[in-house]
Amino acid sequence: MKQKKIDFVKLLKGFKSGWVGISTDHKKVLVHGETLKEAKLKAEEKKLDLFFFPAGERYDNFVG
């Protein structure tokens, strides 16, 4: 089994803050909310099963 690349650069382009709900194929943002709670509520209203991820973060300087 292979999990194809999940391109967060493309997915999060245009979102400066909040949380997004991403389709289960990891290719499209289908909802956005200012908070995780708001994004999940929007997904529930649309009866969508989504993956949630924060927008507006920068990952280039992370040292774990």
């Binding site: 089994m1 690349k5 391109d7 973060e57 300087n61 774990g64």
Partner: protein
């Protein structure tokens, strides 16, 4: 064996893609699907307070324990939840950390690396997961 391609992350141009894993955190009837960084240098799993609250965990009532990383000191609050990764589901001891950034979920040595063989091939921008057989 599952092969996962590294994920390009927002930031500077030409920054390195990262080993990200789609998963579902579960706490009783509450669930959230998100993505976690697979970090061989992380001692244990980390989630943000935002994710903890979404899972119904009242983390402020859990006594905090001091910890440290290359970025400095932090206070973590321990909780036990479940995680589902592809078809595998198992209990997960997590550290809930305030203001954790940029990654809101991280899996490390005490959890995923005990459950599965992980092989990083950074030069190919992939990693491989082979879950242990407990039968």
């Amino acid at each position: 064996m599952i092969t996962v391609e590294y994920s390009p992350m927002p930031g500077l141009k030409n920054s390195l893609p990262q080993p990200m894993l789609p998963l579902k955190f579960i706490n009783g009837t509450k669930e959230v699907s998100t993505y976690a960084l697979v970090d061989s240098e992380a001692a244990g799993a980390v989630i943000s307070t935002v994710i903890a609250e979404d899972l119904g965990i009242d983390w402020q009532k859990i006594p905090g324990v001091g910890g440290f990383s290359v970025g400095g000191n932090f206070i973590s609050h321990a909780a036990k939840i479940k995680v589902r990764i592809f078809d595998e589901e198992f209990g997960l001891n997590v550290n809930i950390i305030e203001g954790v950034a940029p990654y809101k979920a991280i899996l490390g040595q005490r959890d995923l690396f005990q459950r599965a063989k992980i092989i990083f091939e950074g030069y190919k921008k992939v990693f491989h997961i082979e879950f242990r057989n407990y039968n």
